[in-house]
Symmetry: C2
Subunit: 128 residues, 2 copies
């Protein structure tokens, strides 16, 4: 299997606070995001913190999706990492962002598995 | 809880091939790495692929550690993301790299939860 992959880091602000505290709801959104991007879901692990916040991961055949939510700040810290060239991680990120009703986002794509260089690390999208 | 975090991306090359295929062994290394960094382990999910390769995640109170291994290339794609200022993600990355016997590595640190800027994205270490 080729080591090459695309890792998208998304900082989502102004998200719906209730959704950021809804562990089963976030799990559904993330599994759907993986499937919409054409990924194959392998493992799902989500954890709700007290008094608030959820962390979760969906392991896919093509790598992973993760979230750490901070309802008190309307902030969700998202990663979508996909190996290979078939899956577009931005499809999953866009679905998640839309589902959470974000008002602003920052998205950074980092190439994986072929040697990092600063020139490779480009900000690919800002704002909604 | 403060949104600020440190996300370390490590590309590990020349790893021990057998270890990269040893799901229980990788799980032990990653849980140990989290604990050595002073993190609190919440969820552990590892998956072995056929014919080779392992993907896994350790969700910690402070965010997550992940691995995707490519034994046929001696390559492990690692993320260690820690929220707050108490845990040093590099402690976990160093432990993982040493445990896997890497011959070369690239390490990139990305600040999370405070707005990304290209200037923030610096390569903090190259080579072993």
């Amino acid at each position: 299997m080729d080591t090459m992959g695309r890792h998208v880091i998304a900082e989502l602000w102004g998200c719906n606070t209730e959704q950021l505290n809804d562990r089963p709801g976030l799990e559904r959104i993330f599994v759907s995001a993986a499937l919409k991007a054409g990924a194959e879901v392998r493992e799902v692990a989500f954890h709700a913190f007290a008094p608030q916040g959820v962390s979760g991961v969906v392991i896919i055949s093509e790598s992973h999706l993760t979230i750490h939510s901070f309802p008190e700040h309307g902030y969700a810290s998202i990663d979508v990492y996909t190996c290979g060239t078939v899956i577009d991680p931005h499809v999953a990120v866009a679905y998640i962002a839309e589902s959470l009703g974000v008002t602003s986002q920052e998205v950074l794509e980092i190439p994986r598995g072929r040697g990092l260089s600063e020139a490779d690390v480009g900000r690919v999208g800002l704002g909604v």
